[in-house]
């Protein structure tokens, strides 16, 4: 009877880790934008901050004043998951599981993370894990139970090399890699801070170069945009903010993540404004 019930329940939630290896490439911004985008498309989504001790996600999601209990409290049994989850006020499908600012990554345990993720799988369609930079405990546990991975990369050599390292870890040091016969983690690259002008000048790597090195599918190209910085400062995920080339690029990436086929396009991000054009002429 119970097994019958289990078979009837639809496929459980999908765990997607947003990772990169290198810091400052836009992991948290992308985690916020993607999770908000998924929620906007009607999927029940939760985003978890794995960056214990350097809590940022709550600020980008604009809920830093509503944090009472956190991920670590849940892992250590001091609070129930329901108490720690913060429901977004703008999108009813979106929840945030913030982390602790006072603890460090050692507070994360594999068993604890697994338990929380399994509980979230029952309730949500998508579980987005916002990984910290680096390849140590926090990053390792963020990717360990993932079904899919979004590797955030900037078009520059150090970021690409770190992403490559992370792709190696995804295919060797995760639950799916360790379980014999399991399908490997589906990893895709999200190219952020893409600046066509700088690439034309040869200051940045081209998309082809990056993909040639990483040898994984491209999830999307997010242009460098002032909208991203403004949105994070205001505590609004880019995808919820007013339309911009960046938000359009994130929405395309979200659609691809859900299995839709969307043509890859890069909006010429910086159409020079009137003032800029004037200054450009005089300069």
């Amino acid at each position: 009877m119970t097994s019958q019930l289990k078979q009837d329940t639809p496929a459980k939630g999908k765990i997607i880790v947003i990772t990169s290896g290198k810091g400052g490439v836009g992991k948290t911004t992308s985690a916020a934008a993607i999770s908000a985008g998924l929620a906007m498309l009607g999927h029940k989504t939760v985003v978890i901050d794995f960056d214990v001790g350097l809590r940022n996600l709550d600020m980008i999601m604009g809920c830093e004043r509503r944090v009472v209990f956190d991920f670590i409290n849940v892992i250590q049994g001091d609070a129930r998951l329901k108490q720690a989850l913060i429901k977004d006020k703008r999108l009813e499908n979106l929840s945030i599981l913030p982390t602790s600012q006072t603890r460090d990554k050692d507070a994360l345990t594999k068993e604890g993370v697994e338990k929380v993720l399994n509980e979230l799988r029952e309730e949500f369609d998508y579980i987005i894990c916002d990984s910290p930079a680096g390849i140590e405990r926090g990053a390792h546990l963020a990717m360990y139970f993932a079904d899919e991975a979004v590797v955030v990369t900037n078009p520059e050599v150090s970021s690409v090399r770190d992403s490559d390292r992370v792709l190696g870890l995804l295919s060797s040091k995760t639950a799916r890699a360790e379980r014999p016969g399991a399908e490997p983690i589906k990893a895709q690259v999200l190219l952020t801070r893409y600046d066509a002008n700088r690439i034309a000048k040869g200051e940045m790597m081209t998309v082809e170069d990056v993909l040639e090195i990483l040898a994984v599918p491209l999830l999307g190209i997010v242009p460098e945009s002032t909208a991203v910085l403004r949105a994070s400062n205001e505590g609004v995920p880019v995808t919820m903010d007013e339309p911009s080339p960046a938000s359009a690029a994130y929405m395309d990436a979200v659609a691809r993540l859900t299995g839709e086929e969307v043509e890859m396009r890069v909006e010429s991000d910086k159409r020079p404004g009137l003032l800029q054009r004037l200054f450009g002429m005089t300069a």
Binding site: R161, G168, L169, E212
Partner: protein, 250 residues
Amino acid sequence: MNVAVDDPMERQAEARTSVRPIQIRGRFLTAVALRVDGGPPDDAFYAGLDDLLRQRPHFLVDAPLILDLDGAEGLTDPDDLRQLVENLKARKFMAFGVQNASDAQLAAATEAGLIPVPPGRDAPLRDERPDRRRTTERTPSAATRVVTTPVRSGQTVVADHGDLVVIGPVASGAELIARGNIHVYGTLRGRAMAGCHGDLSARIFCQSLDAELLAIAGLYRTSENLEHEVHKRNVQVFLQDERLCVETLG
């Protein structure tokens, strides 16, 4: 009148405080055992020993040596033992102990200044000149390792018994190590070390060369001293007269 200075006890105590603490450390060492048969060694024994030393001059020089007296029933005179130790010392063998000694032999050995050593496990001595041809003959079908996924930065792939074939790119910061040849069907941006056990005939092949380091049998070149002509080209790397050569293919 200063009594304290003249007091020997006091002086001793003073001396003790100035002495550095005694250090005792555990130490493992490898010794060789020399088997002596019959009675006191005769000229034939020394002739055989000299013969061995002539064949391999550096064999066991200054090696700590234990005399195995298991088969030397006749060797019970301390003078004979002393003589043997002297003769060995003349050949740069440093005998310091005996093993498998009978009670009588033990007494003689102690008198000759040798210590009893409990018999350990015998290990085969490492041959100074390993015969490579013989070892390759023993493993005729060397195991080839084939990797069909990209080799990522930070990964090391080792083919300890044969060739290594990678189908896909090798990222910068990745390492390929093989006993035999290395083939990369993709761009090689990391390091490749072929012939890691000293095989001078090993080669490296790759479709597009952008390597950080290429090495064959320990001889290496870094990207800095690779000719520009071979950059991003389909190449093979091999040793010729102890020089690492990079040659384009096709």
